[in-house]
């Protein structure tokens, strides 16, 4: 990987490590401060495992007051803080710094209240996304955002990254599904934003915090909205002879007034990779494969499936399969959900990109990716959350070959730049973190970035909270890392990524 620029190390902090650690041990329980090499090693990286850095120490506070005291002390002593949820983030947002205290929310792992009357759940930030649904599903409710890592990722991390998922086209991302948070600012101020009501009055600070990648405050409690499960969920698996046909079908489905709960496209390379990997039974002759999921009442879903099938036929579909039961629906998804590991099995390494593009530009962008694939002589497979335009190209390469690694990085950066050129954005759901930091100026000019930095400064005057993330350090559009997986040594190899 390229050398990563990080904020200047404050040597006085390193020199004062013993004093700082002993002070932290007086603020919180002794056993909740980790400072030995072996203890802090698990925290040296998140799921962007290409970058590793041990922090000065790790603290595991148990309550909001402790978080507040730690932040207040660190603010006074000018010590940097890196907040961390489950560490499943793909953009390096929780990468430590050697002169920083890593603050893990791992002990904030309880669901505090299940309020069916007000259709919400109050949870500590370390609670996993999926366990919220598990806590309410006996009454037919669920929490809508479903990032692929939902088994392990924490709800606090979801708020920090504004996580999405397969169903965000219909149900929105985290920001559309939370009602409130408790937050601690860098100076130790504890603040409640929102509550159990819809919307807030005044500045939408909840909206600002959501997706702020741990730069503005440490989230210590989250109130999420829960929804009643739809009566029926069914999926349609459609093969197309060209990627253009698939792209046109997406546009026509949307134009016809249908909002599917999920709509995914895979290109030929990925159809073959996933079918080899997990025998998904996908039509291997297709150049593009689409999964459309529809939910709602029984008759509505039936009607929509007919409409979608008609549109698919009009767009030259070569095969259409409709799920007859839940087992079959899940089987349709099995291959798509195995996309990342399937690529991992095909090459020693792969890079996963995360751009969003206007849906109608799909074939244009995929053509460009194909061209670049030839230019760099590197294979690429494409998974696409077609409903909301979120594209995940997976570039396959061998990191032991330095020249290939360099080419891959260039290839990745060119893809993201093209996404922006096509009217899209750098990141749809993985966050900027350290990964796309230097590409921010592809999307924003100096005024735009300065305004965002002013907001940061207004809440964190000394720039101590998660510094070096999101905003360019080099102040030029460098071409840096993507999600890099070497020989399947992914940080969370068991987590599905799609």
């Amino acid at each position: 990987m390229s050398e990563l620029a990080l904020p200047k190390v404050d040597q006085s902090i390193i020199l004062n490590k013993d004093k700082i650690v002993s002070k932290l041990k007086r603020i919180i329980k002794l056993e909740n401060v980790l400072d030995h090499n072996d203890e802090i090693k698990p925290y040296e990286t998140d799921a962007l495992s290409a970058y590793k850095q041990k922090p000065l120490a790790v603290v595991l506070p148990e309550n909001t007051q402790e978080v507040s005291k730690i932040l207040k002390y660190c603010n006074e002593e000018k010590i940097k803080i890196i907040p961390r949820g489950a560490g499943t983030g793909l953009s390096g947002g929780a990468l430590p710094l050697q002169d920083a205290i890593l603050l893990s929310l791992g002990k904030f792992n309880k669901i505090l209240e299940i309020d069916f009357d007000n259709k919400c759940v109050v949870a500590q930030p370390g609670v996993t996304n999926l366990s919220i649904t598990h806590a309410v599903q006996h009454k037919g409710f669920y929490y809508a955002p479903d990032p692929s890592s939902q088994l392990a990722c924490s709800i606090g991390g979801n708020v920090a990254e504004n996580s999405g998922g397969i169903h965000s086209l219909k149900y929105g991302t985290t920001t559309n599904n939370i009602l409130g948070t408790e937050l601690v600012l860098m100076d130790g101020t504890i603040c409640r934003l929102g509550g159990k009501t819809l919307d807030q009055e005044g500045y939408d600070l909840l909206g600002l915090i959501c997706g702020s990648e741990g730069l503005l405050g440490v989230i210590t409690e989250v109130t999420v909205k829960i929804l009643k499960k739809p009566q029926t969920v069914r999926a349609v698996l459609i093969g197309f002879p060209t990627i253009e046909d698939g792209g046109n079908c997406v546009s026509e489905i949307i134009s016809s007034g249908i909002v599917p709960s999920g709509m995914e496209i895979m290109d030929k390379a990925l159809i073959e990779a996933t079918d080899n990997f997990c025998k998904a039974g996908y039509p291997r002759d297709a150049e593009a494969l689409m999964i459309v999921e529809l939910d709602g009442t029984n008759s509505e879903v039936d009607e929509l499936i007919n409409k979608v099938s008609d549109i698919a036929k009009k767009n030259n579909s070569t095969s259409i399969r409709i799920s007859k039961n839940e087992k079959e629906r899940l089987a349709f998804w099995a291959g798509r959900k195995a996309a990342f590991p399937a690529c991992g099995a095909m090459a020693p390494d792969y890079y996963c990109m995360d751009g969003t593009i206007p849906r109608g530009k799909l074939s244009e962008v995929l053509k460009e990716i194909k061209r670049l694939s030839k230019k760099y002589n590197l294979p690429v497979a494409n998974a696409f959350h077609a409903g909301d335009g979120n594209l995940h190209p997976l570039i396959m390469f061998d990191a032991n070959n330095k020249e290939e690694l360099r080419k891959t990085e260039e290839f990745g950066a060119e893809i993201l730049k093209y996404c922006v050129k096509a009217g899209g954005v750098l990141t749809g759901e993985h966050g900027v973190g350290i990964e796309k930091r230097e590409l921010m100026c592809e999307m924003f000019n100096d005024n735009d970035i300065q305004q965002q930095l002013k907001i940061k400064k207004s809440l964190d005057t000394k720039n101590l909270l998660n510094p070096g993330k999101v905003y360019p350090i080099l102040r030029k559009c460098a071409e840096e890392g993507r999600v890099h997986v070497h020989r399947g040594e992914e940080k969370f190899p068991d987590l599905p990524r799609f």
Partner: protein, 423 residues
């Protein structure tokens, strides 16, 4: 003094009192000058909602109404990009041709201020973040703003967001400026997410008076998987001369069989699906023995339009407040209001619009204290008498809001004190 009167009275004194730029560059130049001269400025669009918020006394008026027109509309991409002060009515008209809509149902404040429709501009709609009946299902204005361009208090042109829904590139400033009442930025361009309009709609009206039963119905409707897209309760008006009795006239529909209080439930979708859901809901809510009416698509559309036009409060001279509470607390607030106030409940129990005669500081404080205890917030929309603290905020959030304000508008020249006296 109304803005119109002020405009006229000041023009003779200061020909530059009202500044009317017609493009973003001019907005930026003007604000750079205002910043340099430290001149407090009121930002206006079409004035449809200028009565909301604290009264302002500013050196200048920045009238952005010339920034009007559709920049780009791509129905298949589900977005529309407009110049900031494009009338909402124009946007809705264009969307309608493609069977699309602003799903948050913009509120029409025209009826309470001038007895006729005036939905104002895109920027005004965004700045207030007041959403209609579909909010509890589809989200509010803030959930439908994909991106914007605007000029901050120093005169710098900035942008945030984009045209795509899934976007986590940088802070989500679209959310932050939505509901900021023009105190952070002079908007020049807005991109809204748009959604398809459903084929048909029907409204099931349940004639019910018991507060406990209403609260129970709201709760069960929220737990239903029948995709309800609107649910309101309209009680009868207090028998009191302080209120204009217009409920009966406004909700006079051929198929609305009973004149008493009612709870209405909207379903949207295909005709077949609606019929199925009505049958299902009747069983689910145990409505077999209740008096009911069913409004067909034409009556249903008109019914919800009148709800979201606040027509029930047309021509009122009383104060009007908007209260949002956790939905299950609606029973408490209904009991608190008793039959003394004219009100209706939207968002399936969460949103109360209440008309209050003889408003004064003490009355407002009492109600606000109670609402805060319920975990909600209150905004005075229209006040018959000058009032302090017409928004709800606590010390910590005020402290943070001041910092945010400074980061956009360091000299505090945009709509100073519009929301909170010190912001």
């Amino acid at each position: 003094m109304s803005i119109e009167v002020r405009k006229n009275s000041q023009i003779s004194q200061d020909s530059d009192y009202i500044l009317r730029p017609d493009n973003e560059e001019k907005v930026s130049q003007i604000i750079k000058d205002l910043y340099k001269k430290n001149l407090p400025t009121e930002i206006i669009g079409s004035n449809s909602k200028s009565f909301i918020g604290n009264k302002l006394q500013c050196a200048k008026i920045l009238d952005l109404s010339k920034l009007s027109g559709i920049v780009e509309y791509l129905p298949e991409e589900l977005y529309i990009k407009v110049k900031a002060c494009t009338p909402i009515a124009n946007i809705e008209e264009v969307l309608k041709k493609n069977n699309q809509q602003l799903s948050f149902e913009p509120i029409d404040f025209g009826y309470i201020s001038s007895s006729k429709s005036n939905k104002g501009t895109a920027a005004g709609c965004l700045s207030c973040n007041f959403s209609g009946s579909r909010r509890f299902k589809s989200g509010s204005v803030r959930d439908h703003v994909l991106g914007f361009r605007g000029v901050n208090g120093k005169g710098d042109t900035i942008k945030s967001g984009g045209t795509v829904v899934k976007n986590v590139t940088g802070y989500d400033l679209s959310k932050l400026i939505t509901g900021s009442f023009g105190t952070l930025i002079a908007l020049t361009e807005i991109t809204f997410k748009v959604l398809p309009t459903k084929d048909s709609s029907s409204t099931l009206v349940i004639h019910e008076d018991s507060k406990e039963e209403i609260a129970k119905l709201f709760n069960n409707i929220q737990s239903s998987s029948n995709e309800i897209s609107g649910s309101v309760f309209v009680p009868i008006e207090p028998n009191n001369k302080k209120y204009i009795q217009n409920r009966e006239k406004i909700f006079s529909f051929n198929d609305l069989k009973n004149e008493g209080p009612f709870l209405a439930v909207r379903m949207e979708g295909s005709k077949k699906s609606i019929d199925e859901r009505i049958r299902d809901l009747t069983i689910e809510l145990n409505l077999k023995n209740k008096k009911k009416s069913l409004l067909d698509v034409h009556q249903s559309l008109l019914f919800w339009e009148r709800i979201n036009n606040l027509e029930i409060f047309s021509n009122t001279q009383n104060s009007l407040v908007r209260i949002v509470i956790p939905p299950f607390k609606c029973i408490d607030l209904m009991k608190y209001l008793n039959r003394d106030y004219k009100y209706y409940i939207d968002w399936c129990g969460s949103l109360f619009w209440i008309e209050i005669p003889d408003m004064n500081e003490e009355k407002l404080l009492n109600i606000k204290d109670y609402i805060i205890r319920l975990g909600g917030y209150l905004t005075v929309i229209k006040n018959s008498t000058p009032l302090n603290d017409i928004f709800t905020i606590n010390e910590t959030r005020l402290h943070i809001s001041k910092k945010i304000k400074e980061s956009f508008d360091p000299k505090g020249i945009f709509n100073p004190g519009k929301m909170y006296r010190s912001v």
